[in-house]
Amino acid sequence: MADSSVSSTKVEITLRLSEFEMPPMQDALIIGRKAPIGFEAARRMVDILSPNQYEVVKIQHPTIEAVVIRKALMQMVARDRLISLILEEGGKVANEATILKVQLSIVLCVSKSVDL
């Protein structure tokens, strides 16, 4: 007697294409002490992907190992001020295992009065 039941297995594939950001980080990265990459890997990554555009700074912090910052930002705001700002805000949400991508926008407001 022939088997009357028929079975089949199908796979549904969905493709979603988007542009790979270059460089893959934006303005800054906050690297946790137990994150999948550390200071040295981050330094080599930015040196290869975006030479001379980022600085990797080792940090003395209980959960954060390093901060990667776009050098151009440091021309507008002093390096130490920028790092302390990133740590102050990022430190509230970062944990040892994470790498946080930081978007930072700096708007310079100048107001001058001149003699007529």
Partner: protein, 286 residues
């Protein structure tokens, strides 16, 4: 001769590159049943990765981001106590051995302690001579004065023969306990041989003679558990560093001082005087 790190180090080392992953380091350690890997970069030693580093790091990390750096190391000519001092200072279980910038070996704490135990006398609970050679070299390196008191118990063979070796051992234990109390904390005491003790001091000759007299008095005035009169003879060497007769090979220099003091103690015994100060200096072996 003093036992050095080179005689107990492991020479067949498995290393890892700094750009390798922590996960790979873990696998290599597990396969080879080892607790650490020296980390190399372009043939240069840059750190060490231990099981603790592996446990506390993400497996995706580079070894460079998980290793302990800079590496703590000793030279192959370092003494066992120098190695121990470094391990204790840095709270580490493994110490690398580097010669002229090249990694040549590794010693583990277990192996080191096993070896150091051979230089410890169980009966008297005193170190043997290697320890005072090490401390003497440290004194010479730091520019301090060095002198040796070599103490030899008189007629100890007769005590052994009359009372038996068990009681002989008891006397040795009592003499060593006495010396441990009487020797100042800035000096170093060891059991040199059967009934011989040596004291390394950072004192000039005159102060060293005073101390030797105090020690001999303490030995002769003590009431021992078996009713027997014990006296000792002593030889003194060194304590005149300004004369500048050291060869620069500090191990040889300390060994020469010990030898001089030992000959002086024999001379004291032969001449039936408690104390003889050695005047000469035996030339270095090298």
């Amino acid at each position: 001769m003093i036992t050095t790190v080179s005689s107990i180090m492991e020479k067949d080392l498995i290393t890892i590159e700094s750009m390798d992953s922590v996960d790979n380091a873990r696998q290599i350690m597990a396969q080879n049943r080892i607790g650490c890997l020296p980390v190399m970069e372009n043939g240069r030693l840059v750190g060490i990765i231990t099981t603790w580093d592996v446990i506390s790091s993400h497996p995706n990390r580079l070894v460079a981001d998980a290793m302990t750096a800079p590496p703590v190391y000793v030279e192959p000519t370092a003494s066992l106590w120098e190695a121990k001092e470094k391990m204790d200072k840095y709270c580490i279980e493994r110490l690398l051995v580097v010669e002229k910038g090249q990694l040549i070996g590794l010693i583990t704490k277990t192996r080191l302690y096993f070896e150091i135990a051979k230089h410890f006398d169980i009966l008297t609970q005193l170190n043997k001579k290697d320890y005072i050679i090490y401390e003497g070299v440290k004194l010479l390196r730091s520019g301090k004065e060095v002198s040796i008191i070599f103490i030899d118990i008189d007629g100890f063979g007769i005590i052994d023969k009359e009372y038996g070796h068990i009681f002989g051992d008891l006397i040795l234990k009592e003499v060593s306990d006495l010396l441990k109390v009487k020797v100042p904390t800035d000096c170093f005491l060891c059991r040199y041989g059967g009934d011989e003790f040596a004291v390394l001091t950072p004192y000039k000759k005159e102060r060293c003679i005073e101390l030797a007299k105090e020690l001999l008095d303490a030995i002769s005035q003590h009431e021992y558990s078996i009713k027997v009169n014990i006296t000792a003879s002593a030889g003194i060497s060194g304590g005149r560093r300004e004369k500048g007769r050291f060869s620069g090979n500090y191990v040889d220099d300390i060994e020469n001082l010990i030898n001089l003091a030992s000959l002086a103690s024999t001379s004291a015994k032969r001449n039936k005087v408690p104390l003889v100060v050695a005047e000469g200096f035996i030339p270095s072996k090298t």
